[in-house]
């Protein structure tokens, strides 16, 4: 896999240095040729639109008429927009509560599945399945029906004497519902945790057992530090992912962010601003603000990671 193409060719020249550089040029050309379809797509479909959205974020653009340059107006009005502030609040609470819960669930299940037992392949697939289908429209619809009035959740809780009514129409219950939906899709980080757990040498646990360490001690002194690069990776990915929640909120609230703005996530408000209110410049400003904020958060994660993420010098 990692074998470089240079090794497969045999330079026969007496001027190997020159040949080598020539050949490198040829290899690079071949490489870029193969890369070209992706590169073209990346430039035309990602970089291009991103640059144009950066420009649009400084304009008043209604999709129909030429954009009008208004400088930083979009960015400054954002902070006087109550719905914008509401969307920031909703998104932050989703990220802050949803992500750690999801990772905790993923890690807990990964540890359960780490032991050898019959049918473990089945269990792994079963727990992973929700994250495959979880982002789909149909699941959001099912979720909405499950948490609706006299849906299975309402009936199940009523059986235990908890009468919450439907969650979908209750502004204070929609956030727990959305968080449950994301926690339920813990499969992707779980698989990564599982791979990480397999890397931890068993003899560490054996030695700890011999020294009389209990499971809690083992977890905090062996599993956590040994797994910390994987935890860091998952935390980073899931946090970024959580900021981008859109489809499920769109479906569950009929594209309106209701009830009472309780599911007005950042990207949903961005979408409504752009495509319902024809304020594409404003929406672009929101998009760029999100890029910047997520960038800063990532940076903070990397900075703090030094104190708690341990990379082993030789990974056995």
């Amino acid at each position: 896999m990692t074998q470089s193409p240079t090794l497969t060719r045999r330079p026969t020249s007496s001027a190997p240095v020159l040949r080598k550089s020539k050949q490198r040029g040829a290899d690079a050309r071949a490489g870029y040729t193969f890369l070209l379809p992706w590169l073209l797509g990346f430039i035309a479909l990602t970089v291009g639109p991103m640059i144009s959205s950066l420009y649009l974020s400084f304009t008043n653009y209604n999709l129909f008429e030429a954009p009008k340059w208004i400088g930083l107006d979009n960015y400054t009005t954002l902070f006087q927009d109550e719905r914008f502030l509401q969307s920031v609040g909703v998104t932050l609470s989703y990220v802050v509560f949803g992500t750690p819960l999801k990772l905790a669930a993923a890690l807990a299940v990964a540890m359960l599945l780490n032991s050898k037992r019959k049918g473990q392949g089945f269990y792994r697939s079963a727990f992973y399945a929700p994250s495959l289908i979880g982002a789909s429209v149909s699941i959001a619809i099912v979720w909405k029906a499950m948490f609706g009035d006299s849906g299975p959740v309402d009936q199940g809780l009523s059986f235990f004497g908890i009468n919450l009514g439907g969650w979908v129409g209750n502004p204070s219950m929609t956030m727990p519902m959305m968080i449950l939906l994301t926690v339920w899709q813990f499969g992707a980080p779980m698989v990564i945790f599982l791979a990480g757990l397999k890397q931890i040498p068993a003899d560490l646990y054996e030695a700890a057992s011999m020294d009389g360490a209990g499971p809690v001690r083992k977890f905090f002194n062996i599993t956590w530090p040994m797994l910390s690069p994987v935890i860091f990776f998952n935390l980073l990915m899931e946090t970024i992912h959580a900021f981008q929640i859109f489809a499920s909120a769109y479906i569950i609230s009929n594209g309106e962010g209701g009830p009472a703005g309780s599911t007005l996530f950042y990207t949903l408000y961005l979408y409504l601003r752009g495509f319902s209110d024809f304020r594409m410049g404003y929406a672009s400003a929101m998009a760029w603000l999100l890029v910047i904020v997520v960038g800063i958060i990532t940076l903070i994660f990397f900075r703090t990671s030094k104190s708690w993420v341990h990379y082993s010098g030789d990974s056995k």
């Binding site: 035309a44 479909l45 990602t46 291009g48 639109p49 991103m50 959205s53 008043n60 209604n62 999709l63 129909f64 008429e65 109550e82 982002a135 609706g148 009035d149 009514g165 439907g166 979908v168 129409g169 209750n170 502004p171 992912h241 981008q244 929640i245 859109f246 489809a247 499920s248 009929n254 594209g255 309106e256 209701g258 009830p259 009472a260 703005g261 990207t267 979408y271 495509f275 319902s276 209110d277 024809f278 304020r279 594409m280 998009a287 999100l290 890029v291």
Partner: protein
């Protein structure tokens, strides 16, 4: 989930493919088709399955009468409809012919996205002269209504009977109307409610303003009413919110996109009279009735015939002639009237109206529009640019009011802030 990247990519893709399609269109030699080599026009509309079925029938009929034209139909629900159109318009790929609403006529007409239908061969002689101006902006005809709607209070006579509440005769003040709702709520025993909060409906508010001789929007595109008017209006239901006279907002949200009335949760609902077919289908009721909205001035009900389900064409269509023929067909053909009955409203064209037989619930709608004829006033001009957004935020803030998240005063502040911001933005 849509990531920011996917989101932008989708936009770019849409734009690119629209550009590619446009390029293909240019190379196509024929703008008129023949039976062997027909042209294809795209038609899109919003609505439920019922309307989709009827529209398909109409398209099939059109194609059999016009073998040189094929119509490619497509539909979505109302909210998603406008988001789709916005994306298409940005990419220059609007469908050739579209069903349109007055709320969005200025947004697209004033921004040169729609074709001036006055220049095409479309027969509008069967339409009331007073109807045409609402499809016109600055002397150009951007939309022609297929039908007219009047605002009304729907009620379910069977449910009223079971509760032992008398049927209304539509000759009522707001106080009488509210008393009636309260009675229904009180006897409904927690299972049946009066109505949704009528003060959350923009058009009901607009009609109330007209009853007080206030136009909602001035000619230069400003608001014609002030914050106190809006506060008075929202305060009107203060004593109903939280009581069974009004169905709780939790229920309304749960039931969406179906209406509480269509879901047999409320006994009455205020809306346009063309909802009859949809309500009957949703609720399974045998019979629903309509009466005029309440008014404190019995001589001024503030009602008007709203031109609805307008037909418009894209400014960029390559098939002007085929589009014009399809629009003409949808507006004037008597058989189209037979297919749609009153599900689009009462046909606007006399030709189509006279060629349609109205029975049962369709007759209820036609009779209703006849019965209020003497109270009707001229329809308002096409609302201001961005009206669709204002209408949506009116509904949203009305809902927040019912959730108790806002007081009437803060709700009025919130709506005015959004409205003023929007008007400034589009000035």
């Amino acid at each position: 989930m849509i990531s920011r990247r996917n989101f932008l990519t989708t936009v770019a893709l849409g734009t690119a493919s629209a550009a590619a399609l446009a390029a293909c269109g240019q190379s196509a030699p024929a703008q008129t088709g023949s039976a062997e080599n027909p042209v294809t026009i795209n038609y899109t509309w919003w609505g439920n399955d019922d309307r989709a079925e009827r529209t398909r029938k109409a398209i099939a009929l059109f194609e059999s009468k016009n073998p040189d034209i094929k119509v490619n139909g497509n539909f979505t629900d109302f909210a998603g409809y406008w988001q789709k159109r916005a994306t298409e318009a940005a990419g220059g790929g609007l469908p050739d012919v579209m069903q349109w609403d007055l709320s969005y006529l200025r947004d697209y007409g004033q921004r040169n996205q729609l074709m001036d239908l006055g220049a095409l061969k479309i027969d509008t002689s069967g339409l009331e002269k007073s109807l045409l101006p609402s499809g016109q902006i600055r002397g150009k005809t951007y939309g022609i209504p297929t039908s007219t709607n009047a605002f009304a209070v729907y009620y379910d006579p069977a449910k009223l009977k079971s509760l032992g509440v008398a049927e209304p005769d539509g000759n009522w003040t707001y106080d009488e109307y509210k008393t009636w709702l309260k009675e229904v709520g009180a006897k409904g025993n927690g299972t049946l409610f009066g109505s949704t909060d009528f003060t959350g409906i923009w058009w009901q508010f607009n009609i109330w303003l007209r009853q007080k001789n206030i136009e909602a929007f001035t000619e230069d595109g400003k608001l014609g009413f002030n914050k106190d008017d809006l506060k008075t209006w929202w305060n009107m239901a203060s004593d109903l919110r939280g009581t069974p006279a009004i169905v709780s907002e939790e229920r309304v949200t749960q039931l969406a996109p179906k209406s509480p009335f269509g879901s047999n949760v409320t006994v009455a609902e205020n809306t346009w009279d063309n909802f009859m077919a949809g309500y009957l289908a949703d609720s399974g009721a045998k019979e629903l009735k309509v009466v005029p909205v309440p008014s404190d001035d019995p001589d001024n009900l503030g009602l008007f015939l709203k031109p609805s389900m307008l037909m418009v064409a894209s400014a960029k269509t390559k098939f002007k002639d085929a589009s014009a023929r399809f629009i003409d067909f949808m507006i004037n053909d008597p058989e189209v009237g037979q297919i749609f009955k009153t599900s689009r409203g009462v046909p606007a064209s006399k030709k189509q109206r006279d060629g349609t037989t109205f029975e049962g619930t369709d007759k209820v709608v036609v009779d209703y529009e006849k019965s209020i004829e003497k109270y009707l006033k001229d329809a308002p001009e096409p609302p201001i640019v961005g009206f669709g957004t204002l209408e949506a935020s009116f509904k949203r803030i009305g809902s927040d009011l019912n959730y108790g998240k806002l007081t009437v005063d803060s709700a009025a502040d919130a709506w005015f802030k959004e409205a003023e911001d929007l008007i400034k933005q589009n000035a």
